[in-house]
Symmetry: C2
Subunit: 339 residues, 2 copies
C-alpha cells in the first residue's frame, strides 16, 4: 500500500470531489497531505474525521509522499510533476500537460488498465469529454473495431472549474433581471447561450478541446487508425457533459448488439426508453460515477456499419475525479500484488 497520499489542487471543483471520493470509496492511506498554491495555503479542509491544513506546493513537498492525485492547470502540472517524481512519488495527473507524452500512460481503468504497468512516475487521466466517449466506444471497438467517430458535445460550465459555474449563475441572473451579462471565464456570455468554442484554435480550424478528443481516443484505445470529427460546444448546464455520437465500425453491429455491449461493459449504465421519455440527461447524471448511454439507434444515413447514440456523464466525476481515484486504486492493487 502507498502510505502517504497527497492531493494537489484540493480546493478546486475537481479536487473537492477527489477528497469526497477518497472517503466514499474508502481509499486506503495512512496519511493525507493537501497541497495547493500560496492562495489556498493555511486553509483547513475536513476529510473524514480529520482536519487537514493545506500546505504549499513547492519542491521538497513530496519527500514524504508516495502517491499524488493532482487536479491543476496544465502549467502547474508541467512544473511540479517532475520534482514530485524525483522526490519519489507517483503522480496521477488530471491536467492536459502529460497526456500525449509517449512515456506517460493515459488510463481509463475500465478500458486500458494494463497500460499502467509501463509508468515512469506520471500517469495521466484523460480529458473529460474524451473519457466518457471512450468508455462508451471501448466495448464497440473490441467487438467490431471503431473506424470513425462523429461527435458533437454539449459541455457543462463546470468543465471550466468553479469559476465557470459562478459565471453561468451570474450571467443567468443578469439576463433574468434585464441586465447585461458579463463574461470573463468564457469568451462570451453563457447564460441562455451556446459557445461553439472550448479551448483555443489548434489544428485546421479545430480547437484544443476537439483535438484532445482525436489524439487521446487513439492513444487510449491503442489504435491510430481511428478517425474522429469533433465539435465541442459549451452549454448553459452546470454539471454533466453530453455527447451526440455517431460511430462507424469495421464489422456491422445491430442496435441490439450495441445495446448488449453497452449493458455488459463496466462503468456504463444504459437508459434507453424513448417512448417513456427515458434517456440520459445532465440533471439526472449529476453526482453519479457512471457513463450513461441512450438513444441507441441505427445510423439511417450510413451503409449499415454505423450506430448513433447519446452519452452523458458527470464531467467532474468520471470525467475527472472518479477516473483519477480509480487510477490510484489500480496503482494500489499493483503495489499490493507486487508485495
Amino acid at each position: 500500500m502507498y502510505e502517504t497520499l497527497a492531493v494537489v489542487g484540493a480546493t478546486g471543483a475537481v479536487g473537492r470531489i477527489v477528497l469526497q471520493q477518497l472517503v466514499d470509496r474508502d481509499f486506503p492511506y495512512k496519511r493525507l497531505k493537501l497541497l495547493a498554491s500560496s492562495r489556498s495555503v493555511g486553509q483547513e479542509v475536513r476529510v473524514k474525521d480529520e482536519t487537514v491544513r493545506i500546505e504549499l506546493l513547492q519542491p521538497g513537498a513530496f519527500k514524504d509522499v508516495d502517491l499524488v492525485i493532482a487536479s491543476t492547470p496544465d502549467e502547474v502540472s508541467a512544473e511540479f510533476a517532475p520534482y514530485a517524481v524525483e522526490e519519489g512519488a507517483v503522480v496521477v495527473d488530471e491536467s492536459g500537460y502529460w497526456r500525449m507524452d509517449p512515456k506517460v500512460p493515459l488510463i481509463i481503468p475500465e478500458v486500458n488498465p494494463d497500460a499502467i504497468n509501463d509508468h515512469q512516475g506520471i500517469i495521466a487521466s484523460p480529458n473529460c469529454s474524451t473519457t466518457q466517449m471512450v468508455v462508451a466506444l471501448a466495448p464497440l471497438h473490441h467487438a467490431a473495431t471503431v473506424k470513425r467517430v462523429v461527435v458533437s458535445t454539449y459541455q457543462a460550465t463546470s468543465g471550466a472549474g468553479l469559476a465557470g459555474n459562478v459565471e453561468l449563475e451570474a450571467s443567468t441572473k443578469a439576463i433574468l433581471n434585464g441586465q447585461a451579462p458579463k463574461s470573463e471565464t468564457f469568451q462570451h456570455p453563457i447564460g441562455f447561450n451556446l459557445i461553439p468554442q472550448i479551448g483555443s484554435e489548434k489544428h485546421e480550424g479545430y480547437t484544443s478541446e476537439e483535438m484532445k478528443m482525436v489524439y487521446e481516443t487513439r492513444k487510449i484505445l491503442g489504435d491510430d487508425q481511428i478517425q474522429v470529427c469533433p465539435t465541442a460546444v459549451r452549454v448553459p448546464v452546470t454539471v454533466g457533459h453530453s455527447e451526440s455520437i455517431l460511430v462507424e465500425t469495421e464489422k456491422p453491429l445491430s442496435v441490439q448488439q450495441a445495446t448488449e455491449l453497452f449493458r455488459s461493459a463496466p462503468g456504463i449504465t444504459v437508459v434507453d426508453d424513448l417512448p417513456n421519455h427515458g434517456y440520459p440527461m445532465p440533471r439526472d447524471c449529476d453526482g453519479k460515477d457512471d457513463v450513461f448511454v441512450g438513444r441507441i439507434r441505427r445510423d439511417i444515413s450510413g451503409n449499415g456499419n454505423s450506430i448513433a447514440f447519446w452519452c452523458v456523464s458527470d464531467n467532474l466525476r468520471k470525467g475527472a475525479a472518479t477516473n483519477a481515484v480509480q487510477i490510484a486504486e489500480l496503482l494500489q492493487k499493483s503495489v499490493a500484488s507486487a508485495n
Copy 2:
C-alpha cells in the same frame, strides 16, 4: 396583389413575429384580418397604425380573404386549411400537417422558389430546424451534390411556443432558488438541463422532429438520395436553434470553396473567425432574419469529401415567421407578374 390578408394564430410566439414582419418588410395588403381560436377572440392587436380585433377561426371566415399566413398546431391546420382554400384563399401554412403532402409545395424562397408554381391552395413552410439547415446545404448541394448529412441540434425552448419560454424561465428561477423545477411543456425540467427528445418516437428510434429533418430536406432539395442522420436536442436557450453539421458531398469541396459558396448564397451570413472568438451564437442571432454559418472546416474523419460547420438561426424568424412571409411575398410577385 392579394387584397385581404388573414393571419391565423396571431397571438402565438410565431404569429406575433409574422405581424411584426408584415410591418418591417412593408408587406402590401389592403385589409388585414386576424383569426384565432375562441380563447383569443375579441382581443385587440395593434398592427402599424391600425387596431385589429381578433375574429373566430371558423368556416366562412375566409370568404373575403385572398391570402392566409397561418401559425397553428398541426390539428388546427388540418381542419381549417381545406375550408379556407374552398372559400377562395391561398394558405401559407407553418404547421407540420401538410408539408409532406405531394400536392403541397414545401418552400424555402432562397432554395426552391419555383416549386410554388404547382400549388393547389396550400403552401407549406418547413420545420424550423430543417429550414436553417437546408438554407446552408443548398449552395453546397448545387455545387457538389450532398450525399449525407450528420446533424446534432441544440434547439431553443421557443420552438415549443411561448409556453416553452415561460417554462424555461420558471424552471431556471426555481433551480436558482433551490426549489424543485416543474415540467409541463417539456418532458423533463429544462432549466440548466438538456432533453434529447423533441417530438415523439417516429421511426427506428428517431423522433418526429428528427424525421422531419430527413424527409423535408429531401423534398425541398428535390433529391431522395440524400441521407440524413439527425439528433434533436432541446437546450436551455430562449431563441435561436443551433446545429452541428457534417456534410458529405459527391464532389470534394475545399473549406475555401465551401466558405465562398456560403458567402455568395442568399440568406446566409458567414461569421467564421475562431482565433478572435467569432462564430454564430443564439444570443447574437436572436431577432435576425439570416441563417448564420461558422466553424467551417475540413471533416478530419472523412475521406476528403466532407465539411463540418456550425449553423445558427432565429427559429421564430427564418425558422418560421420570416420564411412564411417570404413565401407570401413570392406569391405576391407571381400574382403581380400574372396580372
